[in-house]
């Protein structure tokens, strides 16, 4: 015998509907959470990269000193293209031994596109290149402090709210520049200006020195654009936490519901008379 005859099934109709509705609700929630997760992952993967917090007004401080290799050119080119794709607004300071304001704070990121073109290594170029025109004439020495100081001056001059500074450099700083650099860092700390560094093919010694001075890990400039996920836009590829948590929660609830509150199955019996 595979069934128990029961005459009062009419009383079970409402609880059965309730159980089915709950089951449908949980299953629907699970499907919605899975779709939301998939959508979020897709969205975050194609989101434009951002080197600085999106709520900050960024000023990019770009090192154009000489002795630049093809590798460095390519990395600067890619970093600038990523900035151009970010749809944010930036100021731009260009420096080697001296610094000047190339773009005022609040300029559209798309302005970096023509700048990136200047760092496209010519085809068949040798390993070493000179600094791109028009900066070749003033790029023999690197004084990072000059670029960072001008960025701080611009923040004051334009009354930039919630500023952040992004330094792009190979970190081959003049040893004479180290003391002024610490002074600049004091100013940045006191003014609570976040400073992020993108290192362009730094030597291990320079990288260690600057990580020691800045007391923070330094991000490496990407050699290929798809490298950016490991170079500084890691967050844009992360699986979003909340939708995943919702998937787990709905799956758990649905499982528990099936385990403890699964509806009974019955069918109308055939008359035995």
């Amino acid at each position: 015998m595979s069934a128990i005859p029961y005459p009062g099934t009419r009383e079970l109709v409402r609880p059965a509907r309730r159980a089915a509705a709950l089951r449908l609700l949980l299953a629907g929630g699970l499907i919605a959470a899975v779709v939301a997760t998939a959508f979020s992952v897709r969205r975050s993967t194609v989101a434009p990269p951002s080197f600085l917090p999106t709520d900050r007004a960024g000023i990019v401080v770009l090192d154009v000193s000489s002795s630049i290799t093809v590798d460095k050119y390519t990395r600067i080119h890619n970093t600038l293209l990523q900035l151009a794709a970010s749809h944010a607004r930036y100021g731009l300071v260009i420096f080697s031994a001296t610094a000047y304001e190339a773009l005022p704070p609040g300029s559209a990121a798309s302005a970096f596109k023509p700048l990136a073109r200047l760092f496209t290594p010519p085809k068949g170029s040798s390993r070493h290149l000179s600094a791109p025109r028009p900066w070749g004439f003033f790029s023999s020495v690197t004084e990072i402090s000059s670029g960072l100081e001008l960025a701080r001056v611009l923040i004051g001059k334009y009354s930039v709210q919630h500023p952040a500074v992004l330094l792009i450099s190979d970190l081959q700083d003049d040893p004479q520049d180290l003391k002024p650099l610490v002074k600049i860092l004091v100013g940045y700390r006191n003014a609570r200006i976040p400073l992020k560094v993108i290192a362009v093919s730094p030597s291990p010694k320079d990288l260690g020195l600057f990580e020691g001075i800045f007391r923070a890990p330094v991000t490496r400039a990407p050699l290929r654009l798809e490298e950016s996920s490991s170079a500084g836009v890691r967050s844009s590829h992360e699986v979003p936490g909340r939708p995943v948590a919702a998937v787990v929660l709905f799956a758990l609830l649905l499982g528990l519901n099936e385990l403890w509150s699964a509806r009974l199955n019955w069918r109308k019996g055939r008359s035995t008379a």
Binding site: L178, K179, L181, V182, K183, L209, G212, I213, F214, R215
Partner: protein, 205 residues
């Protein structure tokens, strides 16, 4: 044995093992700091080593103990001492590394250590100014000493250094006013600033 008891026993064993490993990691951090402190007092030539493998993943002991400021301050002091006994170029690098550490700790959440770091930053700024006149000037030292006193009014070294430098600056102003009134020439004739000598600032950390 009921399955529930078996599970409870397994969970308890795992928790006990984790706590044991955590305690070992805490002990390791403490021993490491003792070793570094001993090295600092002997002014060892090699930089303090901090990277000791933790037994637990992600090193929760260091996270919970929140030793970043302690570590950075000690590193800064080591570089600060190194910067005073090496060649010019090495000294510039060591001073920059010391300065970076003091800047970070000096704006950190541990008020006592932040005060120490600000005081040392003031001394570093003063030495930087005294040796080559590039970068820092007296006002940076005064600002750092004042910040150190504000952060920890019980920091006697910072109070001493602040008073010393303020007195020296006052004396220099008076001296310059006298020179100006007598000869009309600005600045001291031998390039002396009238500030405290390098050895008179207190750095008793």
């Amino acid at each position: 044995m009921r399955p529930a008891w078996l599970v409870a026993a397994l969970v308890s064993t795992a928790v006990a093992a984790m706590l044991g490993l955590f305690a070992a990691d805490v002990r390791e951090v403490s021993d490491r700091f003792d070793a570094v402190d001993a090295g600092l007092s002997r002014a060892t030539a090699t930089a303090p080593k901090w990277d000791v493998g933790a037994m637990l993943l992600h090193d929760p002991a260091r996270r919970i103990l929140d030793v970043e400021d302690d570590r950075d301050l000690r590193q800064g002091i080591w570089y600060f001492k190194k910067g005073r006994r090496t060649s010019y170029e090495e000294s510039a690098t060591a001073s920059a590394l010391a300065g970076g550490s003091f800047v970070r700790v000096g704006t950190g959440s541990n008020v006592r250590e932040a005060s120490q770091a600000q005081d040392l930053l003031g001394v570093l700024a003063y030495y930087g100014r005294a040796s080559d006149g590039v970068g820092f000037d007296e006002s940076d030292s005064v600002a750092a000493f004042a910040q150190a006193v504000l952060l920890d009014p019980a920091n006697d070294d910072a109070k001493f250094n602040l008073e010393l430098i303020l007195r020296a600056l006052r004396a220099e102003k008076v001296y310059q006013a006298q020179v100006k009134s007598t000869s009309g020439v600005r600045g001291s004739p031998s390039g002396q600033t009238g500030g405290p000598s390098s050895s008179s600032l207190q750095t008793d950390y």
